[in-house]
Amino acid sequence: MNCRRAKSVCCRLGFALFLPLFAFLAQSAAARPQQQTAKEELLALPGEVGHPGGRLVVALRGEPKTLNPLIAADTRSREVIGVMQADLIHIDRATQLTEPALAKSWKISSDGLTYTLVLRQGIKFSDGQPLDAEDVLFTFRVYLDENVHAPQRDLLIIGGKPILVRKQDAETVVFQLAKTYAVGERLFDGLAVLPKHLLEKPYQEGKLGQIGTLTTAANLWAGLGPFRMKEYVAGQRLVLERNPYYWKTDAKGNRLPYLDELVFLFVPNADAQVLKFQSGETDVISQLGAENFSVLSRQPHGYSMTDSGPGLEYNFLFFNLNDAGEKTPPEMQRKQKWFRELQFRQAVSAAVDREAIVRLVYQGRGVPLWGPVTPADRRWINSSIGHPARSVARARALLKEAGFSWTGGASGDSALIDADGKPVEFSILTSSSNADRGKMATLIQDDLKQLGMHVQVVPLEFRSLLERVTQSKEYDACVLGLVGFDTDANADLDMFLSTGGTHFWNPSQAHPATAWEAEIDRLMEQQLAEPSYEHRKKIYDRVQEILAENQPMIFLASPDILVGAKNVIGNFHPAVLEPYILWNVEQLYRKSAPESAAR
């Protein structure tokens, strides 16, 4: 009762505070440039027509490190950059297919080596300067420059050679690849086109890394996305304003985006984000855990929660299969002898109760997994891979075959010993900041106790966990998760290839350690150069089979994408791909104007 009164007071206060602001917003709306000249080739989006005005408040896990796509490596920065920049060809998060963006059309030559992109004419950066082919050339020159160290560079080296970019005329750009690249035009998604007029000088001076920070003056930074920089308050929020030159319109020809402002609040942890959403301080929420989702679903007032089904995250258990040769301590050598045993890994996989993980960790809002491709990725999942039910008996049979035995027979609480009579004991690392994976590890610990294995769960701070897994390699086993960024066979190349950094069980190998890893390397290289979907699918199916046969990772479960939004937000269509809710931010709008003023 008291609480409610306090809230209504807050609301009224908020109303009073925002009245002047609303007046200002209305003014700025009136001042919107109306000169939609004939040569401006805007993109009209289908879908519900909203009305302009208002602001959207979103929580961000912390401050973005930069707004500069050339140095952004963290997800937070990428999330913000996603609404400030635009790419040539875009993957529609809803259909998961490519759609024209800054390039209004494109042609791929029959040999798959030449991509000809035709640029949209007459469109402008957020500072009003026009976009032309020179900007595109400059952008790719910068991305490919070794001295810039752009994270995008690796994506643009195909068949060992950088993509060649040349200008055919003022509106046409040609990309020349050294080798057929199966990903095709999806390659261009997320590669922001940069403003040459602003970046050329810093580039010449080698100062690209210092520009585009959160404190860079607004007139020194521009993009082609729906929003542009307005205000940054360190430690609190980042306010973006509508880009009046944005190149998309709705079905009726109104220029997008609808919203006047997009506010990112910096909220460091998941629980605090839930509280902010519950109290109405933020308008949308994503990346929710199942428990918080059910808390929010219990008494939704003014908002609704959506379970969008399985996403692309997959969680798995893996063992330390690194080979340090002579330097391996004897203790580790003994353990690795078990881990290298295929039947040992198969037994662990057979003993893990995946259904219980889905039920107890995700409250049923997830799916059990037997491979890295989740059911969300309908085009690429190999549905013929078996889903063997949990069987302790089969696990015990497998261990017996591999020479393990039990003290005091195979009864309930006997300990498992290896061929040398040593008890099977090992530890599983989990990230201490991820409660879900910690729970999985505790469940696995209990599952494996039934096989007589003595397992300890060690929660570790995430960065030191990664350091152990990828650098020092001092660990037994670990539970981790990865999120695919796209529904494509290539999305997780780094995990499949034995040279990859996220090939966790034995990362960054000089030569593949096993025959089947070499086989996966070969197949993945092969599908990369294969243009037809059917052929690629066949190869990729085989890769998934090899993984399932050899169990280097024991796949556990995938959580659903859980999101929520206030009921006043229109055009809210969460996707299973990142960014889950802001992918159509230009179309989001507030349904009733007075309420947007009250915010």
Binding site: S294, V295, R298, K439, D446
Partner: protein, 351 residues
Amino acid sequence: MKDPRSFKSWLIVLIVIHTVVACAGFFAPYDPIEQDRKNPYVPPMRLHLVDAQGYFHMRPIVYPLKLREGSFDEYEEDRAQPEPLKFFVSGARYRLLGFLPSRLHLFGVEGSRIYLLGSDAYGRDQFSRLLFGGQVSLLAGLLGAGMTLIIGLCIGAIAGYYGGWRDDVLMRVAELFLALPWLYLLFALRAFLPLAVNPLQAFFLIVVVIGAVAWARPARLIRAVVLSAKERDFVRAARGFGATDLYLLRRHILPEAMSVLLTQAAMLIPQYVLAEMTLSFLGLGVPEPVPSWGNLLSSLQQYSVLVSYWWMYLPALAMVPFFLGYLGLASALQERREAYKIERRSLGSLM
């Protein structure tokens, strides 16, 4: 003395608590780490004397809980199958007091499981975990306090009795220890240890660390007592007759410190149990799945648990009588000591 009964009543409360916790295997119906994966977050079950049909039962009955259709954590009573509460039932194996193997439990139900204090995320019985968790927490408190007092006694006695440079050095070290931020010290210490510490190692680590860090305060108290005691007439007299230092300390001086020591113990034990709880709450204590009072409360760090499952707070409530008991005992001891002092002083003036 104000109320001699208060001392005894607090003592009885504490003896009961310690007995129940020490014999956790018998009083708890289940194994504390056994997971019942079909029953996560079961609310505490009700004991009924009157059943759904309105009949009265001498023997309390419980209705097994079943999940409401399509829900993850909403349960309802299955009125069709009343389960009578049985006493002295056979169940999970345990070792009474750590060595007597047994299967006998004070109570239980057949056919389903009874959750007096509800269950946690894995369907583990909170009541059993509370009792077994007490074993870890109480033992850590008792051992830690014992260690502190022994160290404190030795150092305090040496500093107080010999005085001089020994006193200076020991007391400066004590001040240093008082000033240490011991929580951060623990973090640092944990970082140096091997990655996987088994529960027993972790337990002794906690005890040693808690015990070794906090000796400074009791040491200073003991020093003060010794300092005043060694100047007493009877001590001087004994020394005059040629008593050795050790004899004097043992026979005349340390007995003076006994009551201070007891009061200190009654205050330190709950403090150390709290310290263990803090460490386990922060994930530095005994690892999962072994229960301890701190581990039991650590799930409350999650907002969703905080607002959804109120029975997860119950262990915290159940710990209140324990802390009250010790604090009550400490103040009763204190009173006794004061009273004793006054008595002796008035006796002395009479003589």
